[in-house]
């Protein structure tokens, strides 16, 4: 593995992002603004919680689902680069190793996730949420976006049409963004569903973030589960990239 090669792959993504930074920031502000308005400000005023306000409850959830979306969506262009533009060939041809390529691409997605997380934090502050910022919180956000970037990468390498990519969004990401302890506690779910939901990475991210944002404990087990997901995701992504060479 080679840091310089990782840097090159990242440089390309940064070059593209830089050009649209304003547009990117504006577009990333819309969703959290709506969530915060609808659920935090609108609905939240009528919701009673044992501790804190509903707004404080959902901000970590929104950060979790946002970093999921940003991780995944950061990898979607790779699908077109592989299937339509064939520009992925440049990387396969070059001396850059598959792992350097994958890490470079993940870094690009993580950067987007971090920028949009900052936007959410700022917006939430404006709405008057009480959130405790910490280094661990950012580590969890990064980890979550890595996991979903890997899932996005895997999908981009394996699926044959763009419609299928969109279906992953509809059938996997969208349900998760509502079910995984983001807008309500998983404790409210029926036991069978809860068991299943508790296996999903986003659930652990939401709970971890919520605990951190409210000054609670660092949930080590959840953190280890996220690490495990990230490791498996990396392995699968790398394998998909290498299989692509086998044709």
């Amino acid at each position: 593995m080679n840091f310089r090669d990782i840097g090159t792959v990242f440089w390309r993504d940064w070059l593209v992002l830089k050009r649209r930074l304003t547009k990117f920031i504006l577009s990333r502000t819309v969703a959290p603004l709506l969530y915060l308005t609808a659920f935090g400000w609108g609905l939240g005023r009528n919701v009673q919680l044992s501790s804190g306000t509903y707004l404080d409850f959902i901000v970590p959830g929104i950060m979790a689902l946002n970093s999921m979306n940003m991780g995944f969506h950061g990898m979607i262009p790779i699908h077109a680069e592989r299937v339509y533009h064939k520009s992925l060939e440049e990387y396969l041809l070059s001396p850059v190793s598959p792992s350097a390529f994958l890490i470079g691409k993940i870094s690009g997605a993580v950067l987007k996730a971090l920028i949009s997380s900052l936007i959410i934090i700022l917006t939430a502050e404006i709405f008057g949420a009480n959130i405790l910022l910490s280094g661990s919180m950012f580590v969890v956000l990064i980890l979550n976006s890595i996991i979903f970037a890997e899932i996005g990468f895997f999908a981009a390498m394996k699926l044959s049409t763009y419609e299928e990519m969109a279906q992953v969004n509809t059938y996997v990401l969208l349900p998760m963004s509502f079910m995984c302890g983001t807008f309500f506690s998983t404790g409210a779910l029926p036991e069978v569903v809860r068991f299943f939901v508790n296996c999903l990475p986003l659930t652990h991210t939401s709970q971890l973030l919520r605990s951190l944002c409210t000054g609670g404990i660092f949930m080590r087990d959840s953190f280890l589960i996220l690490i495990l997901y990230a490791a498996i995701g990396f392995y699968l992504g790398l394998k998909a990239l290498k299989n692509f060479q086998e044709d």
Binding site: H85, K86, L93, V96, S97, Q245, E246, D247
Partner: protein, 288 residues
């Protein structure tokens, strides 16, 4: 420079009934490419030319067979070997998000070049390909021929030791094509090995020290254009009859001339060219 032993590629294809079958694109070929030579790959559509290039450059893995670069086995991963080739692909595969110059810069960086080195190099290449005015154009907005010129420029950025060109002159106007020919000869003089596929037989005849003729994934000939013609017969009798043209080949003009009076109709004696060899070996054209 490159030695290839028993190279085979079978593509997995999934049919309509979801049945998996294998398509043999390259079928057990062995050959070598000498340092500094211009080696031509000729063959009809689907013969396996592109597949060979993709295997030699590590873009796809062979089903079986071995590839050696300078005596060192190549498994498709070794970064030191991967630095040697430059590839002009058959299809346009630029990064659509980047402009012309940025595409070259990405290439330079992927090959580990220093900024001080690649900045000038990119400028030179854009100049040479007459693309300087388009450096900041989005690649999607370049004309077809400009894109092809940019593909060639990109392949040259890292100063490859061996250049694979998969139909590099498709869609280029005659002047530019000639310029590319000069470039190829120049590169060859400067020690670059060149492997070129083309459907313009004239191109292979003009440039190549050796040409391999491929059909259905197999080499059916591999020799200098001159020897290939000689083997077929240096002179061709071309006869235009009611059922189209038919041909017969002769060792020399005299024997050919003796043969001609037997025919009525439009008969012509001319030197055999590579196209005759190509069609004779791969096609099913009428014999006399």
């Amino acid at each position: 420079m490159i030695e290839v032993f028993n190279l085979t590629k079978k593509f997995k294809t999934v049919g309509k009934d979801k049945k998996i079958s294998f398509k043999t694109a390259v079928d057990d070929i062995s050959f070598s490419i000498e340092r500094n030579e211009i080696f031509g790959l000729l063959g009809p559509n689907g013969a396996g030319k592109t597949t060979i290039i993709r295997m030699l450059t590590g873009q796809i893995k062979p089903t079986s067979g071995k590839i050696f670069y300078d005596g060192k086995i190549f498994d498709g991963n070794d970064p030191e070997i991967k630095k040697l080739p430059g590839v002009v692909p058959q299809h346009i595969n630029f990064d659509r998000e980047l402009n012309a110059a940025e595409n070259l810069e990405l290439h330079a960086r992927l090959y580990g070049m220093e900024k001080s080195d690649y900045q000038n190099r990119i400028k030179e290449l854009l100049d040479y390909m007459e693309l300087s005015d388009y450096a900041n154009y989005n690649v999607a907005k370049l004309s077809g021929g400009m894109k092809r010129r940019l593909l060639i420029a990109r392949a040259l950025v890292h100063r490859p030791k061996i250049l694979f060109m998969d139909e590099p002159t498709v869609a280029l106007d005659p002047q530019v094509r000639r310029k590319i020919w000069d470039l190829i000869k120049d590169l060859s003089k400067n020690g670059v090995t060149i492997v070129i596929t083309t459907h313009y037989i004239e191109e292979a005849e003009k440039l190549c020290r050796r040409t391999a003729i491929i059909d259905k994934g197999k080499f059916i000939a591999n020799d200098s254009p001159k020897n290939l013609c000689e083997r077929l017969g240096n002179f061709t009798v071309e006869c235009e009859g009611t059922e189209g043209k038919s041909y017969k080949f002769f060792r020399d003009r005299e024997t050919a001339a003796k043969f001609v009076p037997e025919f009525s109709g439009n008969v012509k004696i001319r030197p055999t060219n590579l196209e005759d060899v190509f069609i004779e070996l791969t096609g099913r054209r009428n014999g006399l």
